[in-house]
Amino acid sequence: MSPDVSLRTPVAPIAPGPAAPGSPPTIDREQNKQRSRQIRGATTARRLLRILILAAAAALAVLLVAPVLYMVGLSFTTGQSFGVDHYVTFFTSQYYIVGVALNSVAMAAAGVLVAAVFAIPLAYVIARVGSAGVRRALTVALFVPLWINSVILMLGWYIIVGANGIVNQTLLMIGLIEEPLRILSTPTAVVIGLAQLAIPYIAMPLVGVFAAVPRSAEEAAHVCGASPARVFFRITLPLSAQGLFVGILLSFTLSIGALAVPNILGGGKVRMFSVAAYSELTTGNFGLASVIALVLLLTTVLCLSPILLLNRRTNQHKEH
């Protein structure tokens, strides 16, 4: 067979040419490679796919990348010309640096911390519980904050922590307080809301990681006399550190950009990035809104890069 096999030939014979009976079949590596290439992608289909990839890339560039670039442009525009005034405003003002940026970080960090207190035991129980039914029920429950509208979940907290909510009613009834506590529209309420939404993001990666911790290591520590708490904190948790780290970074990233939670539970008084950007946008201050959004984007990217690096390293590790 000639080496320049037309790629349109529908089916190439598998046997590498007629071989003399009895003699071992000769394998032409070059020819085989060409055939497998031919099989993997018929050329017309390949061309079609290439066009589709380019079309998709172009569409994404226009719809996703261009608006973000335009936002960068806006952030550097003062009046009609280039200027860094908006950045100066943001980075020199107590209101934006402390009231918005640091406040967002603090809210997200507190929310993640509260979430971790619930999520770690929850993941551990899901990973270790004997009954498959219980495991399934717990997993489905874990999915609730992911699958149910955050506005609706926050509406639930709105009812619970409001002035006439069950928290205040209970506290008044048992006489711990004289007047209803103000929880709604305070940072406490926002932290509660953020924590609820963060739990699945911390617990989900942890379940697989906890399940992978060799039981023999735990049993060895137990046999050596370690208490269950010691086994957990000295063996299980350190071996799961990477999964915990990923979950915490991921949920922190999602918390810091939250909008529904501070809007509903913060009542506009707890300023986070998205809330501040929204209010700048509605007052027509596009430049400052862009700066706030870009600072948020930068924070997000910074938080996610360790996860991406970690993923890349594990992938490389798998390939070798």
Binding site: V117, L138, F232, T300
Partner: protein, 301 residues
């Protein structure tokens, strides 16, 4: 190990976590049946608020808008996702790789950020935010889910199957239709279900792109809450939540939520819906420790 105080403490904390997750939902649901106001405990039982929801023109319109938006963006993003996942599998080009990264990025960038960018872009171009921009935003937002699910699904299909189809004389489209798609059914379903839910639930992006006339359901609920709420918004919320819960249950029955989230990374894994199928017809390769199969990780990075 015998259960000791530490074990009980762990179980108690886990139970508290479940209560923490579910309590707001139950409280919210209970107030929907309260005849007087959004308060707990309820002072009676009534179904009148559900009737009030259906009589409220704005609510009904928001339900229709959200439904249409979710169906449309799920369909479009699943179609795009299928093309991109196939393209990435076929070609090993750099563009395809970068494209997939770009497509997955809305998974991590805050919805509000995407909303601000699209709002400003649309304002610069049209002087206002047309309805189409809301749709574009929702497609971008939902795109990562079908892409991830389908890429994971395709990665489980051995290339030898396509080669066999090709040798049997099937063209590219024939191979996709007769060989790949039947095996991707569940992943396609999972991806589009996830896309639907993300669009149906989205608040952050929609708040920026909703006009005063066209508002999605979560934006409408939020707006109504600002005006001082009666239990009709919790009745509406309960309906919305029940749609989502039904979605989770269907997903759990078809794929299994743990499988879906990539939680069961270790240990023997089953093929999607593999329990229902008889063993010989299951075409996927058996998992062995030396060849870990990629998880369907739709949610975890």
């Amino acid at each position: 190990m015998r259960p000791g105080p530490f074990t009980y403490l762990t179980v108690a904390a886990a139970a508290a976590g479940i209560v923490f997750i579910l309590l707001p939902l139950f409280i919210m649901a209970a107030t929907a049946f309260n005849p007087t106001a959004i308060t707990f405990p309820p002072e009676g039982f009534t179904l009148k608020w559900f009737g009030a929801v259906l009589e409220d023109a704005r609510f009904v319109r928001a339900i229709i808008i959200s439904l249409v938006l979710a169906v449309f963006s799920a369909a479009v993003s699943s179609a795009i996702g299928l093309i991109v996942a196939l393209a990435i599998r076929q070609s090993k080009s750099r563009i395809a790789e970068h494209l997939s990264t770009l497509m997955l990025s809305p998974l991590f960038i805050p919805g509000a950020l995407l909303g601000i960018a699209l709002y400003q872009g649309a304002n610069a171009l049209f002087g206002t935010v047309p309805l189409g921009v809301l749709l574009v935003g929702h497609i971008l937002l939902t795109l990562p889910f079908p892409v991830r699910a389908l890429m994971a699904g395709l990665a489980r299909i051995p290339t030898s199957l396509e080669e066999a189809a090709f040798l049997s004389g099937a063209g590219f489209l024939g191979t996709v239709w007769h060989v790949l798609l039947p095996q991707l059914r569940l992943h396609l379903f999972a991806g589009s279900a996830m896309a639907f839910t993300m669009s149906w639930n989205d608040f952050d992006l929609s708040l920026f792109l909703s006009g005063t006339r066209v508002q999605t359901l979560p934006v409408e609920i939020y707006g109504r809450l600002q005006l001082g709420a009666d239990p009709s918004i919790t009745a509406l919320s309960l309906i919305v939540a029940l749609v989502s819960v039904a979605g989770v249950i269907i997903l759990d029955r078809t794929i299994g939520v743990a499988e879906f989230a990539g939680m069961e990374r270790q240990g023997p894994r089953r093929t999607p819906g593999g329990r229902q199928r008889s063993a010989p017809s299951t075409p996927s390769t058996p998992s062995t420790p030396s060849h870990p199969q990629p998880d369907s990780g739709v949610l975890t990075p």
